[in-house]
Every structure is written in C-alpha cells, then in structure tokens.
C-alpha cells in the first residue's frame, strides 16, 4: 500500500467516565454507582526503567504545566521534588547491594499511587474536591479545592502539593481526561521501555507476575509487586527487584498506611470534638435549668454600700427602694 497523502484523523472524544462513577467524594457522600468500571492500574516496572524522564516530559506537556528551570544540586533529580507543576518525578538512588557489593542505580518514578483507601480524600474537608472513581482513579477537582493542604497530611506517600499561585492542590490525575476517552495516561504512552504500562488492574497484576518471574531468573530473588495492603492496594503499582526493601527506592514506604495521627484527627477527634462541644453547650442548658441564674440580691448591694461607706452628701439608704441595677 502506498500512501501519498496524510489523511487527518479526528480523535474520538466521547466521554466514558464521569461523576456517576464516583465511589467516594470528599466531605460528602455519593450514591452507589449504577455500574462498576473495571479497575485500572498503572504498573511501573522499576527494573525496566531507564530514568529517562520521558514520563515527566509527557506529563508536563499533556497537562500544560510549566515548571521552573531550576539548578543542579549535585544529583540527576530535577526538579528536586514534586511540585504543583510536577506531578511525577524520577528519583535516583545509588545503592550498593550489600550482598553482591555491586552498585545498583535504583530509579523510581514517584507520583500519586491512587490508593484504594485514599488518605487525601479522607483528610479533605472540601466537598467534592477529591473524588474516587469506581475504576480506582483518585482525582482532585480543582474547582472544589480550597487549598487547605489537609490532603498533604493525609497522604501516606507525600504526594499532593499546594500551588502558591492559585492555592489549589495538585497531583497526578492518572490522566483522568485521557482515561475518560478510552486512552491511557500520557506517561505510560510515552515510556520508551514500557516500564510504565497501563491496563486493568488484573492485567497489570498478571503482567507483573511475568516480570517478577523474569527478574527471579536473573537472580533477583526478592523481586515482587508493590501493591500495599495498608492503603487497600493501589492503582499505581511497582515491580521492584528488591520488594523486601521498598524504602531503598528513595524512601518508598515499606508499609504505607494512613497515618494514625490522621486517622485520629479525621476519626475520633472529628466526632469526639463535636460531641464534647455539644456536651459543653448541653451542660450549660442543663445547669441553668437546674441551678438558675446567679443573681445579686438587695442585701449584696446593701453590703456594698456599707462597705464602701455612704458618700458625703448622698441620699440616705432607703431599704424600701429598689436598688438601681
């Protein structure tokens, strides 16, 4: 077939996902969705990652983000941390394997893990600022965000960042706008080595199993999948060559869970606090009903006058007269 023309092709933009698929909505409740979307997942195979930052580049371009040009601080990580404009970041770790004494350059793509039990959503006080779709996507709805930063504290992975420009919180959306029209995230599409792949969570787990088998055949006995149960599993998962030590990968939490402090704050404190305040008010009402008001008596006034002595030239005390109050 010889093609001498370049026919334009209009992309299909039919929306296939929307608010009707919410299973959680921050600071509010949603009705049980009528359908269950197939859970999706992004799988990041750290053993295939070459740290090229194509994911960062594609993310910036797709999301129309403009990060600042920084400086070099002696490492390859640029920017140096996630920012409101950097939803994903390659983190580089030079690790000498104590068993083999060989250097391993561990490169991990950091970004939102899309937890099944999202700490950000739990912490969020603004109704509808954070939503979770039935396919597992946890998304921030900018319009509803109030910029309080509670999601930052709620997140077990230290992901959300608050913009100083518009005071709203930002993180990876899993390219919800692409998923909504049937495409995968921009980072997964760009990834040259397919270290990042995207599909249904089941497919991704099956793919991970193959990858782990390959890694084990290459001597990585502890290769495994990172899908941490502490947050109910995640919709961004890692294949790690050293799954027994996640934290060597630039501090990936070994056993992530929503912090007990956040649980306390968003759990017991929230309810107990309201209760205590309510009780204080109720006790007041109860007390006034039982004890009544504490009133000053005529005698008190009289004693006051007595104590202070009548002023020269003042009218004599007339006990029959009602005291001025």
């Amino acid at each position: 077939m010889t093609i001498n023309v370049n026919p334009p092709v209009a992309p299909d933009t039919t929306m296939q996902m929307g608010p009707q698929d919410y299973i959680r909505r921050s600071a509010s409740s949603v009705p049980q969705p009528a359908r269950q979307l197939e859970p999706v997942a992004k799988l990041i195979d750290v053993s295939k990652c070459i740290g090229c930052k194509a994911c960062q580049s594609a993310c910036l371009e797709w999301n129309d983000l403009r990060e600042e040009v920084g400086i070099n601080v002696g490492v390859y990580d640029n920017p140096h941390d996630l920012t409101p404009n950097t939803f994903t970041l390659m983190r580089f770790t030079e690790w000498v394997n104590p068993e083999t004494d060989n250097l391993e350059w561990l490169i991990r793509k950091d970004g939102c893990m899309h937890c099944a039990d999202p700490g950000c959503l739990k912490a969020c006080p603004a109704p509808g600022a954070i939503v979770q779709y039935s396919n597992g996507v946890v998304d921030f709805v900018k319009e509803n965000c109030i910029g309080c930063g509670y999601c930052v504290k709620g997140c077990p992975f230290d992901i959300p960042r608050i913009s100083k420009v518009d005071n709203r919180s930002y993180k990876c959306t899993l390219c919800s706008d692409r998923i909504a029209v049937g495409q995968g995230p921009a980072c997964a599409k760009a990834c040259p080595t397919k270290a990042i792949v995207f599909g249904t969570k089941e497919e991704m787990k099956a793919h991970a199993a193959e990858r782990i088998e390959d890694l084990k055949s290459r001597g990585y006995d502890n290769a495994g999948l990172y899908d941490p149960p502490g947050v109910g599993g995640t919709h961004v998962m890692y294949v790690l060559h050293h799954a027994d030590k996640p934290s060597i990968y630039a501090g990936l939490p070994d056993n992530p869970r929503i912090s007990p402090l956040v649980e306390a704050w968003k759990g017991v404190t929230k309810y107990a606090g309201l209760a205590v305040m309510g009780m204080a008010a109720a006790a007041s009402v109860f007390h006034i009903a039982i004890a009544g008001r504490n009133r000053v008596t005529v005698e008190d006034d009289e004693e006051a006058r007595r104590l202070t002595g009548t002023a020269p030239g003042a009218a004599p005390l007339d006990p029959d007269k009602e005291p001025l109050s």
Binding site: Q16, G128, G184, A190
Partner: protein, 198 residues
Amino acid sequence: MNMEISRRNFLKGAGAGVAATTLGAFGFSEAEAAFVEGLRAYKLAGTTETRNTCPYCSVACGVIIYSKGDLEQGTAQAMHLEGDVDHPTNRGTLCPKGAALLDFIKADTRLLNPKVRRPGSDQFEEISWDEAIEGIARHMKTDRDANFIERNMDGVSVNRWTTTGFLAASATTNETAFLTYKTVRSTGMVAFDNQARV
C-alpha cells in the same frame, strides 16, 4: 479507516505485550457529555493529526502532531504532539526530548526574521530576505571570483573553490540535502561537510 481500531489491532498483533494505551475493553460504553465535573475536557478534540518523525536522533520515532487551523490558509498551529502508535519502532512511545517537541516548535528562541550583524557591530539588525540573499550571493561571488582554482600547478582542470565552506545539517530532509548538494557542488566548493562526526 478507523485509526483507533487499526492501532489496537496493531498492538495486539504485534505482541507488544500490555503496551496498549487505548482502552476499549474496560467497560466504558456510555457516551457522556463533553464536559463533566472534575474532568478536564479532552484537549485534542477537534484537532488535525499529522504524521511526522522526530527530528532529534536517528531512531526516527513516529510522531503525530495535533494542530488547529488550516495549512492552506496559513493558520495551522501545532498544539500538541505525541508518539505515533502505528510506528513500528517507537510504538507511540517517546523519549523526554521527543515528548517535549511542542516546546521546540514553540521555543521562545525560534528565529523569525532574517538578520545581519555588520562587521564590528555588537548587535543584529533585521533585514529583508531580498537584502539577505543579495548580500550573501555578493559575498560568495566576490570570494569565488578571487580565489577559485581552475587549474593546478600541473595545468590539470580542478575547478575547486576552497575559500568558502559549507557545513550541512544532519536533521534536514534528504530533499533539502540533495538540493543543497546540487547548489554547493555546482559552485565547486570543496570544504563541504556535515554533522556525521559530532
């Protein structure tokens, strides 16, 4: 031809594993309104796709440029760029440079006008294309007429021009390259080279 279908088939057929970035099998079927709460409107709606290849390295990844406007009317403007899923080599993927090609096309430092820097000056001045072409051709003729070697010491016809050189790029098309070859060689220029070495 429905490209989406062709792309999916291609990926499946080519055994690229789970590399598919087009989801069809995820149970999405109902059409929804174009804008819904929380979801950014799909930004490529209404754009034109053009097949191109990455101008950087010689892997020559296929790219698709999404543009708005009309090329014929001079209004076409690229607004996004992604890997071409149909391309056998890159399969829709791009490296960090390729993925940011839009910022190359739209770079703040793109040149917009012919300019000349006069001898001893510390700045460029804008000139018209006519002035530029005229000035360059005049320089060439002056130098060529003065230094062209028609015959060597032995009287052999050598027809070479050694005092002006030409360094061709390595990212121009074959067609540009051949036109360049023709014009440069016809002048007898010998200090002709390209970027193969660096």
